[in-house]
Every structure is written in C-alpha cells, then in structure tokens.
C-alpha cells in the first residue's frame, strides 16, 4: 500500500483544516475508504480520522426534528427505538446495509459519502474510468448489469447508499461543515449526478464533512418503508431499492418515492408521487404507480431487468404500506 499520513481530528473545525491538504480524505468507519485505498483507486496522501471528534454520534429529537450525528453507527440507527418509531424507512435501510460487521463499523455520514460500486471503477486496471480521472465509461457498451437506467450521463455508476434512498423519501436534509462554516442541504440536492460533475457523487468538497442528518417533523411518525433487491440478500448492494413515505390515510395527501441503485443519485419517482396524491391504495392504483415509477428509464445492454425490478419494488412497498 502507498504510504500516507494519518491524523486524528479533535473537532469539526480541525477536521476541515486538515482536509484542505492535497489528496486528503476523511475516514470514520473506513469500510469504504480502505477498499478504495488498498486498490489505489484514488490518490490518498492524508487520512483524517473523524472518530476522534467527540459528540457526533447522537440520535435525538430536537426542535421537532429527528437529528442524527454523522458518526452514529449504522447498527445503532438500526437498533434505535426512536428511529423505528418516527422514521421506519431509515430503520429498514440501516438493517439492510451490508453485513453486521460493516454496520458495526460504518457510520451514517460514511454511508452517505461512499464511492460508487461500479465494477469498472473498482477494477484496478480501468484507470481511464471517469471517476478515476479518465475519460471513458466501459458500461455504455459493456456489461451494464449494475448500472443506471435513469440519468446516466457519460458515467453510469449508481448511488449505492441504502440510507440515502430512505432519507430522500423522508425529505431529510444534511448539515455540511466546511471552511466557510455550516450549511444545510436537502438530500436531493446533496447528491449530484455525472451531468453536474462525474468525479464526485455529492456536493461535498474535499475539505467538507457531513456533521448531521435532519429528518423533518412533517415526515416523523408517518408510514414509511424501505425495501431492496440484491442477489445476496444478507449483504449485497442494492440492484434496486425503494423507499416510500406516505402522508394521509386512507386518502393519500402526498407521497414521496425514492429509488436506489438505479440512478447516479437517489431517484425520485415524481410521476408516481403525483399520481398517488388524492388516491386510495387500491390494487389498480398500486399497479399504476409501479408502472409510472419506471417512466423515463433508458436501460443499457444488460440492465433492462431493472425496469421491471423498479416496478415490482414500488408495488411491493405500496402493498405493504396498504397493509
């Protein structure tokens, strides 16, 4: 492994300062970063340890919102009673993140900021991949089983975070700290696609870190659900996932549906959302919402199955919520 320096940050401000060095990267649980470093996928000269920042692993209700510190472990979120009660989609997602070992190490901030799992990006021999600083995407005309059916642009890697999908449906926002202070960004604006910048997946600059995730009062206590499909059910990244939040019962006032594993960002199924507003969850409505959720899909050579997958996942989630 290439040599790098390892520095412990004692505070958010210190972490931000330390991250301003060339090729500096933040580490918390390290479950994603270590793989990237071992394969030398991205140049890393400095690793800034965030685990030494005290008090960033809370899960609490405050000012009507559910607030979760960026260093909260995925396992702690999965086991949290308040999360299960107030935002069940996030509990579902946390329980489905990877394996128990990874959930015990991985943090919410890290899960949101992880790099993509595209098999070409992760292949050490594909240095010309866009995300590695090159100028080619092998998935366009190659094996595209894992890749985007929505919003691909030059690069077709998908957003792998399960918690991102759940938080998108919950309408959460993310607090980011950087050299200019703190800012709060909606989840749907936090993730950026390759059409905006193919080298990164989020708005985070190198010297910015996530400090907190906030789930708004409007989503708390409302029915929500996250489900995912993966070849190895107990551990794998999602080939497709869906998170749904419904407000209003039996007549739906509003719905938020976010799809994971099928686009470079959590993908909001806005046509299906609009369709559901003012309707009851009958079998016909659920069927049509599933169909609409896949509208606009443009599959590549070997990911056409994701169109049916998305439709099925949305119908399954709505059926379960109709209970």
């Amino acid at each position: 492994m290439k040599r790098f320096e390892h520095l412990n940050a004692g505070s958010v401000d210190e972490a931000v300062k330390l991250l301003s060095a060339q090729n500096a990267r933040a580490i918390a649980g390290g479950t994603d970063l270590l793989g990237v470093m071992k394969d030398q996928l991205l140049p890393t000269d400095r690793v800034v340890n965030l685990k030494t920042i005290p008090g960033l692993d809370y899960i609490k209700e405050e000012s009507g919102e559910l607030r979760i510190g960026a260093l909260a472990k995925i396992a702690d979120i999965a086991a949290s009673g308040v999360v299960a009660q107030k935002a069940p989609a996030l509990t579902n997602a946390a329980l489905l993140v990877a394996s128990p070992q990874i959930r015990n190490m991985g943090t919410l901030g890290g899960n949101l900021a992880q790099k993509v799992r595209c098999w070409y990006f992760r292949d050490v021999d594909r240095a010309d991949c866009y995300k590695r600083g090159g100028g080619f995407c092998y998935a366009v005309l190659g094996a595209s089983d894992l890749h985007a059916i929505f919003d691909g642009a030059a690069c077709f890697a998908v957003q792998p975070s399960d918690t991102a999908t759940a938080l998108s449906a919950l309408g959460a926002s993310i607090v980011v700290a950087g050299p200019g202070g703190q800012k709060t960004v909606g989840v749907d604006d936090f993730f950026i696609g390759p059409h905006t910048d193919y080298t990164r997946e989020t708005v985070l600059a190198q010297d910015e870190i996530i400090t907190e995730v906030r789930i708004p009062a409007s989503a708390l206590g409302q029915p929500s659900l996250f489900i995912k499909a993966a070849p190895r059910k107990s551990i794998d990244f999602a080939r497709g996932s869906v998170a749904v939040l419904l407000v209003g019962s039996p007549l739906i006032q509003s719905a938020r549906i976010s799809l994971g594993g099928v686009a470079p960002t959590p993908h909001r199924a806005t046509e299906a959302e609009s369709y559901l507003a003012g309707k009851r969850l009958t079998a016909d409505v659920i069927g049509q919402a599933g169909t609409l959720a896949a509208n606009g899909a443009q599959p590549l050579a070997s990911n056409d199955y994701k169109v049916q997958l998305v439709q099925g996942l949305v119908r399954s989630a709505l059926t379960r919520l109709a209970g």
Binding site: G135, C137, V140, L141, A153, A154, Q298, A301
Partner: protein, 246 residues
C-alpha cells in the same frame, strides 16, 4: 468552392429575415464592402472593429450521425467539463435531443434496443457566419488557420447580438431528464455573463473532446461496430454539410 456555397443571398432556412436581412454588406463591414466581388467575400471577412481575415468555410464542423448515437451524453458532459477546466463557460455546446424518428444502427440496436432516438446537435459552423458581423467587439472571431468560428469570452460583452443572428436552434426535448429546450445554438451563460457556442475546443490538443470521447466512436475505431464513418465526426462546413446537419 462554388459561389453558390458562400453567397449570402443563399440564406439558410431560419436565417434572420425582415428589414435588415443578413446581406454581404452586413457581413463585410468596412472597406471590403466596396469591392463587392463574390470571390473576395468567399475568402475574407472583415469588420471595422475587428479586422479578421479568414477563409469563409471552416475546415471543421462536428457532424453527428443520429443512427450511431445511444444518448450516453458523454459529448455533453465532456464539452461542459473541458470548457470549464480551461476557464471558459461551462455551458454544454453540444446537446442531445430526443427524436423518435431516428432508427438506431442495427448492430447497436441488437444490444441497446432502448437507447435509440437521439440526435446530437451543436453549432453548425455556418458556411456564412451569421453570428459574426454584428458583434461589436472581438468576441466572435474566425480562426485564420482553420476557419473555426469561436467566441473569445474575454472579449464578449454579452450584448446578445450573436444569439439574435444565429439561424439555428435547439428545439425539442433534451435526452437529459427530458427537459424541454428552445434556444439558439449561441447560448447565454448567466454564471459567467458571456455567450457560448461550439468553438471546436479551440486550443485543445486532440481537437473537439466530444469526438474524442464518444464511446461509439471508440467502438467503431476498435472494429467492434462496423461503420465507414464515426458517430461524431469532423467535416468541412460546406453548404451541403450545413443542410445535412440537424
């Protein structure tokens, strides 16, 4: 070059019309107007504020074959990224629009049946450079070596005259997020307060990045897709080519 290819009276469809049509007099601002010979107009443009002398026809225009486009948007994204990387406007000069009349190349259609119906469009490097003569600064220029029509953003004062005079539009639905677009192919960039158009990546070693990074081009060059031409190619901006381009 035949006179018919460069006579301004042969205005392309959509070219500015009305009280002040784009005439040779407007094109040839300054002393050259008195000469009036088609042969002169064919080889040189000049204007009082910006004495540009150049061949009329650009050596190069990005020519797209929609039947070889799978709508991956590599051209759009790389166009935007490269221009931003050299300090120019990040506006994508090439855009992919949807067009359900396009039939995909049979080899591509066999593996990518759902990726048909796209048409790449960009500045047509008009054989008569309609955008140039009314530019009050040296913002719009013609490269004396290649004839490329390009905007020097350091000279652009964002007056918008080039946009008004541009005879071609992006009109329809973008492949990216199915957004509607109705805009001239000389576009205003509100972030940098300049106008931008395809400049064929002037100054870039290797030429236009859209041509270089098109994955279908790569597959054709590698022999995986049989085609006697590229999906995105460079061709002289003749009148015939102008009419053929989307």
């Amino acid at each position: 070059m035949a006179d018919s290819e460069n006579t301004p009276q042969d205005a392309p469809p959509g070219a500015p019309q009305g009280d002040e049509p784009l005439s040779r007099r407007r094109l040839v601002v300054g002393g050259i107007a008195a000469v009036g010979a088609a042969a002169v107009a064919a080889t040189a443009f000049s204007r009082a504020a910006n004495a540009v002398t150049a061949q009329e026809i650009s050596d190069r225009v990005v020519s797209a074959d929609p039947s070889l486009c799978v709508g991956c948007l590599a051209c759009e994204v790389n166009c935007s990224t490269w221009h931003a990387s050299v300090g120019r406007s990040a506006v994508a000069r090439i855009r992919i629009l949807t067009d359900n009349t396009v039939k995909l190349n049979t080899q591509l259609a066999a593996s990518l049946p759902k990726r048909a119906g796209f048409t790449p469009q960009t500045c047509k490097q008009c054989y008569t450079p309609w955008c140039l003569p009314n530019c009050p600064t040296e913002g719009l220029q013609i490269d004396p070596q290649t004839g490329d029509r390009f905007i020097d953003e350091t000279q652009c004062i964002a007056c918008g005259k080039c946009e008004v005079d541009c005879p071609v539009e992006f009109k329809g639905t973008l492949a990216y997020k199915a957004q509607a677009i109705s805009s001239k192919r000389v576009m205003y960039d509100s972030v940098k307060n300049v106008y931008a158009k395809c400049d064929l990546c002037i100054g870039r070693e290797g030429g236009p990045i859209c041509v270089e990074r098109c994955p279908v081009n790569a597959a054709i060059k590698a022999g995986y897709i049989k085609s006697d031409h590229l999906a995105l190619d460079l061709k002289p901006s003749t009148e015939a080519q102008w009419k053929q381009l989307a």
